[in-house]
Symmetry: C2
Subunit: 309 residues, 2 copies
């Protein structure tokens, strides 16, 4: 018998300033919308009805196809699935486009198979989608895409995923300047050696950020939202970065940094009005440089994927 | 009129594994016991009635004298004080001997002057005692010595001190092998450059440790108590380190690492019995190497300095 559900999986922000490679959080919007269907024929079929036509449809090249296949292999299941993308986070934005797809696919399939696994256990399969997308099976987008809220990846070997609390009043402004910046390239520019002194500064801020989330201390979150190691290098690849950040801070942001490996920026604030003002202020800078941009304003998403139909 | 109080200030563990330079916590024992007295003659007078005869008595060379003078300078006070040391944490142990002295002095003087400053505000003066003791005004011993519990030093410029919660069932075992290891020397052996990959592992564990404290998740605290940067280098300076650590883990420790810059080790566990067993197991290793040692077992101290008379 065929059975289908429609669902939403959120975009996410990884590399949260001093949380490089270990921390991410989910957004209320944007996100992927898909329909996933059990089909009577084996194999995975991808259908793209979103506005992004470049998505590979071969399941072994498609992030959600790869993630879903890893999940099915684990279950030793021959069940066939059909995934239809209705809306898609723009690829290459730095807000977890591939992660949203992978999360949507494995979450939906797990639902259709009556939840053989917990949502947390799905992370490892969604990570295979990330490996397909960027060459590295990182979890700091897929874990929050699946679990919602802030999620810490304490360790990869063994995988240790720690859901963190989400302060109630935390709003996020996102700007996605329409320039191309590949994750792989953004990773290549990083230095392999850093100074111990910078590392100490960094993990002081990592610790402050984690403490701030638990204490709902917005001042501490803001003060901790600093990155002395990655941001100084990667921000050079984003035209107008310093000016956008300055505009965000002037507009009342607690802090502002690169989302994922860029080119998007995220900024935190404590109200919807402020968050909108911050996003618009960053967009003005972008416009003055003749760079098109998308902006999004939302709370931090506590739910992860949601079945919408 | 002369006025005096007797007080206890705790020993402390700094550099808590992945919390190098940014995290410390206080012990219930051991600690310094002092009597501090307002005197009618200006200046600071140090009297040593403890068993450690090597303590400098000139106030400008004595950690507590330096800390107290910094405090008095800030207040623009000419008040004279007399400090008598009754018991003293062994210098050079790695459990905050100088910090206990500095904390005791400034806390006591602040009390005798009817608390012109908050305890948190005293940290910066106690740090001057640390500068005198080790050449570096670090705060990861003096802050927990003054505030009790776990304390994060998120940043030094500006100084940003964040008191953290202390899990109720957390016990600490300390072993102090009687070998000499100067803080300055232990600092010299550190590499100035580290790999980004190690740094990421480290701040994943920093984040895990902070989250574990907030969640009272003893398993997470244990898993996070790893240091891939400092411990591999400094542990070489401590004879029998690996065997002591292994003995602690076998005896049921959540985790074990170097206290401060050594030579002491600390281990966490969740009961008084386990903590005693762990301390004794580490001591056996020390004895087998013909190294004398002191051991201490206590909960994490939540109070900081206490007036005892």
């Amino acid at each position: 018998m065929e059975k289908e559900i429609k669902l939403f999986a959120p975009a996410t922000v990884a590399n949260v300033a001093a949380g490089f490679d270990i921390l991410g959080f989910a957004l209320e919007k944007p996100g992927d919308e898909i329909i996933i269907k059990r089909s009577n024929t084996p194999g995975i079929r991808i259908i793209n009805q979103s506005s992004f036509t470049s998505m590979p449809l071969a399941p072994e090249k498609n992030t959600s196809g790869v993630a879903l296949q890893a999940f099915l292999n684990h279950l030793e299941s021959k069940q066939g699935f059909e995934i239809t993308f209705l809306k898609k986070v723009k690829p290459g934005s730095g807000i977890g486009s591939s992660a949203a797809s992978s999360a949507a696919a494995v979450f939906g399939a797990n639902e259709l198979l009556d939840r053989p696994l917990s949502t947390k256990d799905l992370v490892i399969f969604a990570m295979e989608g990330e490996r397909c997308a960027s060459g590295s099976a990182h979890a700091d987008n897929v874990a929050p895409a699946l679990l919602g809220g802030f999620v810490l990846i304490r360790s990869y070997r063994p995988l240790d995923i720690v859901p963190l609390p989400t302060p109630e009043q935390l709003y996020c402004s996102i700007i996605h300047p329409q320039i191309e910046l590949k994750t792989e390239d953004a990773r290549k520019v990083l230095r392999k050696q850093i100074t111990l002194q910078d590392a100490i500064t960094q993990w002081g801020n990592t610790a402050g950020l984690i403490a701030g989330l638990f204490m709902e201390d917005y001042g501490l979150i803001g003060r901790s939202l600093q990155d002395v190691i990655i941001e100084p290098i990667r921000s050079v690849l984003i035209p107008g970065y310093e000016n956008m950040k300055e505009a965000a801070m002037t507009a009342g942001a607690l802090g502002c940094n690169i989302s994922g490996s860029g080119p998007s920026l995220f900024a935190f604030s404590t109200s919807s009005d402020k968050a909108t003002h911050i996003a618009e202020s960053m967009q003005k800078v972008c416009s003055s440089l003749n760079i098109d941009s998308d902006i999004y304003v939302s709370r931090v998403n506590k739910k992860g994927p949601v079945i919408t139909g």
